[in-house]
């Protein structure tokens, strides 16, 4: 199964999502902020990143931009997670280089669907 990097600063969210993804059979690596996310992305080479956009320090937007700027990480898919159910976030996320977008709180089936879709598109 694919390796997923979950970037989430909220402990509860991190815990929930990682447990549920693990139960689904994914290998989950967690990062608490943007910098750690970049480090782990390079070190762990996940196929997909679930990126919370509001992070302390380097936020999700910036982390995604940097991730995209790294040629080594070219193939990784990024799904943005935002706390705001605002339509604008979708465009913003895609603009920042994300492949898809979902809102928090996570609706598991929907998110899984998106993960499957993105992983299917992985080269």
């Amino acid at each position: 199964m694919a390796k997923i990097l979950l970037v989430e600063d909220n402990e509860l969210n991190r815990d929930m999502l990682s447990r549920r993804l693990t139960r689904r059979g994914y290998t989950v690596v967690v990062a608490e902020d943007g910098e750690q996310a970049l480090e782990l992305a390079r070190a762990e080479r996940p196929e997909l990143v679930l990126m919370d956009m509001s992070l302390p320090g380097i936020d999700g937007w910036e982390a995604t931009r940097r991730l995209r700027a790294d040629p080594d990480l070219a193939g990784v898919r990024v799904i943005a997670l935002t706390a705001h159910a605002m339509s604008g976030d979708r465009e913003r996320a895609l603009e920042a280089g994300c492949d898809d977008y979902d809102t928090k709180p996570v609706e598991m089936e929907r998110l899984l669907q998106k993960i499957v879709t993105q992983l299917g598109a992985t080269r």
């Binding site: 909220n10 549920r20 339509s87």
Partner: protein, 812 residues
């Protein structure tokens, strides 16, 4: 305007005319009478003369022409006319025996001779037609007999033929004597004596003329004199009336005339007195009315100002409410996130571990969590729309695809109550340019609403395009066969938090916000929503959207409202024109202006609204500008608000020494005013650093700050905070105290050690119970300490604004 004196003239003229007329009439009658008398007189004289002359003539006749001559009936006499010389041809009819002798030269010669001898033009004729003869008795009653002829007493006659005098003009009175055959009664002719009477008549006329001519100047003189006297009298009589008239005219023109000074005791005097009293009463009334009008106007102005102020306050409050709701919604979501997520995990784990009896309860928790989340989302949407912060993300998409998407989402909900969903949409419906998410949400709301209130029925989604108003529209109608609504329920339908009634909420659930949001979304996209319903039969909601949605341009009013809570400018000036000017100038720049017409009102509003900038006039009734400035600077809550003096008084030293931030003199340079106001409003916010290990707290601060247009950097602890400082000194730091790695106190110490660090205002937001020593320490180094657990975001926002706007923001 009435020409003064014209009455007098008219009266005089009329009176003169009457007098002259009367005199003329009298004269005419006098003339008439004397004329008749004169004629009579002269006829008498003439007849006397004639009698003598005729006597002579008869004697001559008898002596010279003895024989059987008689003057007999003759053919009508033709006189030569008045102009003929006396002794002219006399045509007569003489008879010799029974035989008339016509044109007998002998007789003619006789008559000529007779005429000559008597100096009278004599003729013999016949006057039988009395209609043609106006007769006048001469008064001479002598009857003379001369042989066969008898001359009757003479008569004067005016001879007419067919109404016209036979001879000459009006003087052609003819004196004639009827001639009878002696011894008989039959008149056989008349003896005419025309000529002598002309002079008589003329004399008579001349005499009467003389009388008239003699009288005329006198008459005119009398008429003129009486007219003059009358005129003078009338003028004299009218003078007081004219004075009253002048006064009335001036009164009519809105002037207050002097009292009319007429002391006479006649009617005019009474009139003047009455007028004076009336004018005085009127003046009193007008003064009273003017006072009342002035009072009312002022009251109206005041209430208008109060209304405007109330509106501004309400707008500000409404904004604050919406912002609060947005923040709260966000705050609520975070724990909900955990509730929903963990209930899902537990459900999965319960199933895995075959603890199936736990699953229904876990699902209830999960369901309740979802419901709560929907409520929060709705509230968030609505508050965003109402705060004017809901943006449109317009894109072109196929209607069909969107419909399929919505239908598949709603299907489970429709099936829940054994309803059937029918989609009636042409395959070639085409695409729409709109906000996909909002349209989808709107349709979802309508469909879920229909499903909710329908059982074992049909929900139909009918989509059509239409052309109207030169545009293409898309109509999306959702029809159900459910419980329907009464007109009363329909009336309350789109009100937020209102379902058909309270029992509906209990029975059917829902937030009651769905329809309100759908309506707002439709309006946001330039469309509308209508509803038709019959109780017991169902409802049809029709959403009408333009096929090409155009993003609404932000109106200036909207800009002003948006700017409202951030950078209000309070204008304190007693001159409404000044308010108008400042408002026009600043609102064009998107700056909201609140007017205060007095110093007292200004202070009150400043306390209520905490404006970003205050402009202040000096010369005002009541508390003047200097006093207001002193009061503003003495109030710690207001002292930080920059005050721009806007006055005609050029006393900058006074202004600056009392604490004014800028001094502008009237007349105001608009450009300069805008520059100054902008400078003090710090448009665009500043850079803020939030140092807090609690994500929820950070989120909240970030939202608050962004709402105030701050640029926000976040740090999870003191170390990260210092790293952020290294990238650039912020304008403000929001600091938590209890944090891992490096706490707030340590961070503060490190901050103050850095260059420029002491100038950065720090606001502490902490849940930590401070010891007195800590409190004292903080009071020196930070601007303010907020209790995290009892944080009033309004107070925090006000503090942030004060820090941003205040010129002394760095002092602590």
């Amino acid at each position: 305007m009435v020409k003064t004196g014209s009455i007098a003239t008219k009266v005089a003229l009329v009176v003169s005319a009457v007098v002259i007329g009367a005199l003329a009439l009298t004269g005419w009658f006098a003339l008439k009478r004397s004329d008749a008398e004169l004629v009579q007189l002269q006829l008498n004289q003439a007849s006397q003369q004639l009698t003598i002359k005729l006597g002579i003539a008869q004697r001559i006749l008898e002596e010279r022409f003895p024989g059987p001559w008689r003057l007999g009936p003759a053919a009508p006499v033709a006189f030569a006319g008045a102009g003929d010389a006396p002794g002219g041809t006399l045509t007569a009819q003489l008879f010799k025996g029974d035989e008339p002798i016509l044109g007998n030269p002998e007789v003619s010669a006789l008559l000529v001779e007779l005429s000559r001898l008597t100096g009278t033009r004599l003729g013999i004729g016949q006057r039988v037609d009395s209609d043609h003869v106006l007769r006048l008795a001469t008064g001479d009653t002598t009857t003379r007999t001369a042989g066969a002829l008898t001359l009757m007493p003479p008569q004067a006659a005016l001879v007419f033929t067919d109404g016209n005098p036979i001879v000459g003009g009006e003087e052609d009175w003819t004196l004639y004597w009827p001639v009878r055959a002696t011894g008989t009664d039959s008149i056989i002719g008349v003896l005419d004596a025309a000529t002598p009477y002309a002079p008589f008549a003329a004399a008579a006329t001349a005499a009467s003329r003389q009388v008239a001519e003699g009288l005329l100047p006198l008459v005119i003189l009398i008429a003129l004199g009486s007219s003059l006297v009358l005129f003078m009298l009338t003028r004299r009589m009218l003078r007081p009336l004219r004075a009253i008239h002048t006064a009335v005219s001036r009164l009519g023109e809105g002037e207050w005339p002097q009292e009319v000074k007429i002391r006479s005791r006649d009617e005019v005097g009474a009139l003047a007195g009455a007028f004076n009293r009336m004018a005085a009463d009127l003046r009193q009334t007008v003064v009273t009315i003017e006072d009342k009008v002035r009072l009312r106007t002022r009251e109206l102005e005041e209430s208008n100002a109060a209304l405007g102020q109330a509106r501004e306050t309400a707008d500000v409050a409404n904004k604050a409410k919406s912002r609060f709701l947005a923040n709260m919604s966000h705050e609520l979501r975070t724990p909900l996130n955990a509730i929903i997520g963990y209930s899902e995990i537990l459900e999965e784990e319960a199933q895995e571990r075959s603890l199936d009896d736990l699953v229904p309860d876990l699902r209830k928790i999960h369901g309740a969590g979802r419901h709560l989340l929907q409520l929060i989302n709705d509230i968030l949407d609505l508050s965003k729309v109402e705060a004017g912060r809901m943006d449109l993300y317009l894109e072109t998409f196929a209607l069909r695809g969107m419909l399929d998407d919505v239908v598949s989402t709603i299907q489970p909900l429709v099936a829940q109550k054994d309803n059937k969903l029918v989609v009636d949409c042409p395959e070639d419906i085409g695409s729409i340019h709109a906000d996909l998410t909002k349209l989808r949400q709107s349709l979802f709301n309508l469909l879920s609403n229909a499903s909710k209130f329908t059982e074992r029925g049909t929900v139909t989604l009918r989509v059509r395009t239409a052309h109207d108003d030169g545009r293409k529209w898309v109509r999306l109608a959702v029809q159900d066969s459910g419980i329907g609504m009464t007109p009363e329920q329909l009336a309350r339908l789109f009100q937020p938090f209102t379902q058909a009634d309270a029992s509906t909420t209990r029975k059917y659930g829902g937030t009651g916000l769905g329809l309100t949001i759908t309506k707002r979304f439709a309006e946001l996209m330039g469309g509308s929503i209508t509803v038709e319903s019959t109780p017991g039969q169902g409802s049809t909601f029709t959403l009408i959207l333009p096929a090409e949605v155009v993003a609404k341009p932000v109106t200036s009013d909207h800009v002003a409202l948006m700017a409202g809570p951030k950078g209000l400018v309070l204008v304190i000036d007693d001159d409404p024109a000044m308010h108008d000017m400042v408002r026009r100038t600043l609102e064009k720049e998107g700056i909201a202006v609140i007017p205060a017409l007095s110093g007292e009102e200004g202070l009150e509003l400043a306390r209520q609204l905490k404006p970003a900038v205050i402009t202040l006039d000096v010369m005002m009734p009541g508390s003047d500008g200097w006093n207001v400035l002193r009061a503003l600077k003495a109030d710690p809550e207001l002292a930080g608000i920059p005050v721009v003096m806007l006055t005609i008084i050029d006393d900058k030293n006074m202004g600056y020494s009392l604490g004014a931030s800028e001094y502008l003199t009237k007349p105001v340079d608009r450009e300069r005013l805008i520059r100054v106001i902008r400078r003090f409003r710090h448009e665009g916010g500043g850079r803020a650093l939030v140092v807090d290990d609690d994500e929820a707290a950070r989120d909240r601060m970030r939202e608050l700050l962004r709402g105030e247009s701050w640029e926000v950097t976040e740090a999870k602890n003191g170390v990260e905070g210092l790293e952020a400082l290294a990238r650039g000194m912020p304008d403000l730091i929001l600091l938590d105290l209890m944090m891992p790695e490096m706490n707030g106190f340590e961070f503060l110490a490190a901050l103050h050690a850095r260059e420029g660090g002491q100038q950065v205002p720090v606001v502490v937001v902490t849940a930590h119970d401070l010891t007195p020593a800590e409190r004292e320490h903080l009071s020196i180094h930070v601007v303010r300490v907020f209790d995290k657990d009892h944080l009033d975001s309004e107070v925090l926002v006000a503090e942030l604004r004060r820090l941003l706007d205040g010129p002394s923001g760095g002092e602590g």
